[in-house]
C-alpha cells in the first residue's frame, strides 16, 4: 500500500496530475466554446490542489517537483517577442500613448493595492505584499521580498489578479467602451500580466502581442516605481 502511495506522490505522478488537470481545463474550454469562466489555469490549480490535499502532499515538496513545469515560464516570456515582431507595423501611433499609460497604470495599481488594504484594516505587511501584484510573477515575488512583503503570498495574489483579467478583462473593457484592440491588449497586460496575455492571445494576435509588450513594460515600470513610491510614503 505504501508503495502505491509512493508512486502516486512521485515527481512523475505530481507533474502528470498538473498536466492532466490542465488538459481537463483545455477540454472544458473547448466544450464550452471558449467560455470566459473556463480558463485552463483555474481548472488545473483547483484540480491539482485537491489532489495534493487528498494525497497529503506538502506544497513545498510539490513545488520542487513541479519546477519541471514552472521552469518554462522564463522561455515563454522570451517567446512573447514573436507576436510582437509580427505586429511591429501596428506600433505606429501608440508608442507615445503607451509610454504615458503604462507608468501611470503601474502607479495606479501600486497605490490602489496599498491604499485599499490599509483602508480595509489590513496590516502594512499585507499592503506591501499586495503592492507589486500587477507585475508578472517572477518580478512581483522578487519585489515583494525587496520591500518586506510575504513573497509566497504575493505569488498567489498576482496569479489571482491574472485570473481576474483572463475571466473578466475582455467583458469589462467592452463595458467601458474600450474598442481599440491595441488599447485592450495593453490594458490586459498591464493589469493581468501573462495569464491575461494568454486570454488576449485567444482574442486576437494583435491584442495578445500588445498584452505581452505591456506585461514586460509594466514589470519594468513596477520595479522602478515601487521602491520610489514606498520611499515617498
Amino acid at each position: 500500500m505504501s508503495e502505491v502511495r509512493e508512486a502516486l506522490t512521485s515527481p512523475l505522478a505530481l507533474v502528470l496530475v498538473t498536466l492532466l488537470t490542465y488538459q481537463g481545463g483545455i477540454w472544458l474550454r473547448r466544450r464550452t466554446r471558449g467560455h470566459a469562466l473556463a480558463q485552463p489555469v483555474v481548472v488545473s490549480i483547483a484540480g491539482t490542489a485537491a489532489a495534493l490535499l487528498l494525497l497529503d502532499v506538502d506544497y513545498t515538496a510539490y513545488a520542487d517537483d513541479a519546477r519541471l513545469i514552472s521552469f518554462w515560464l522564463g522561455p515563454a516570456t522570451v517567446a512573447l517577442a514573436v507576436p510582437l515582431h509580427r505586429q511591429t507595423s501596428r506600433l505606429r501611433g501608440v508608442v507615445v500613448p503607451m509610454a504615458v499609460a503604462i507608468p501611470i497604470g503601474a502607479l495606479v495599481s501600486i497605490l490602489t493595492a496599498y491604499g485599499l488594504v490599509v483602508l480595509c484594516g489590513g496590516t502594512e505587511v499585507l499592503a506591501l505584499t499586495m503592492s507589486p501584484k500587477a507585475a508578472t510573477t517572477p518580478i512581483s515575488i522578487a519585489l515583494s521580498q525587496q520591500v518586506g512583503g510575504v513573497p509566497a503570498l504575493t505569488a498567489i495574489v498576482t496569479i489571482v489578479a491574472g485570473i481576474l483579467g483572463a475571466v473578466l478583462g475582455p467583458a469589462v473593457l467592452t463595458l467601458a467602451r474600450v474598442r481599440d484592440v491595441r488599447a485592450r491588449g495593453l490594458a490586459m497586460g498591464a493589469s493581468a500580466h501573462g495569464i491575461g496575455t494568454s486570454r488576449a492571445l485567444t482574442e486576437s494576435e494583435t491584442e495578445g502581442a500588445f498584452s505581452g509588450l505591456s506585461m514586460g513594460l509594466t514589470a519594468l515600470a513596477t520595479s522602478v516605481l515601487l521602491p520610489l513610491v514606498l520611499w515617498l510614503l
Binding site: A63, V108, I139, I159, A183, G194, L201, A219
Partner: protein
C-alpha cells in the same frame, strides 16, 4: 523545434547575464524578450522557422506554467481566510483601476491621433 527552444533559452540566459552585470531592475526573461525581438527584426525568419514554432508552442500553453505557483494557495489558505476582506477588495479594486486607466488613456490618445491623421487626409 529543439533549435527554436535553444534560441529561446539562449536569449533568456543572455538576459539573465545582462541583468546580473548591469544591476538592472528588470527580470532576465523580459530582457531576453527584448533581445529576441531585436534578433527577429534583424534576421526576419520565415513563419515556419524553428524559433517561431517553438515560441508559438510555448505561448499556446502560457497558462500552464503559472499552475505550480498558483497551487501555493493551499499553503496559505489560513492567511487568505483571515485577511479575506482587505485582500479581496484590494485585489479586485486595484486590478480594475489598472485595467481601466491603461485602456482609457491609450484609446483616448489613439482617437486624438486618428483625428489628426483624418485632418491630414482632408488637407
Amino acid at each position: 523545434m529543439i533549435r527554436g527552444l535553444t534560441v529561446l533559452l539562449l536569449c533568456q540566459l543572455l538576459g539573465e547575464v545582462l541583468v546580473d552585470l548591469t544591476g538592472l531592475v528588470v527580470p532576465g526573461p523580459v530582457v531576453g524578450m527584448v533581445l529576441l525581438f531585436g534578433w527577429l527584426q534583424w534576421r526576419r525568419p520565415a513563419s515556419g522557422s524553428g524559433t517561431v514554432r517553438a515560441a508559438n508552442g510555448l505561448l499556446k500553453h502560457l497558462q500552464l506554467f503559472f499552475v505550480p505557483a498558483g497551487v501555493g494557495v493551499i499553503a496559505h489558505a489560513a492567511v487568505l481566510r483571515q485577511e479575506a476582506l482587505p485582500i479581496t477588495v484590494a485585489l479586485v479594486g486595484s486590478w480594475l483601476a489598472g485595467l481601466l486607466v491603461v485602456g482609457w488613456i491609450v484609446q483616448l490618445a489613439g482617437r486624438e491621433h486618428a483625428h489628426a491623421s483624418d485632418q491630414d487626409g482632408v488637407a
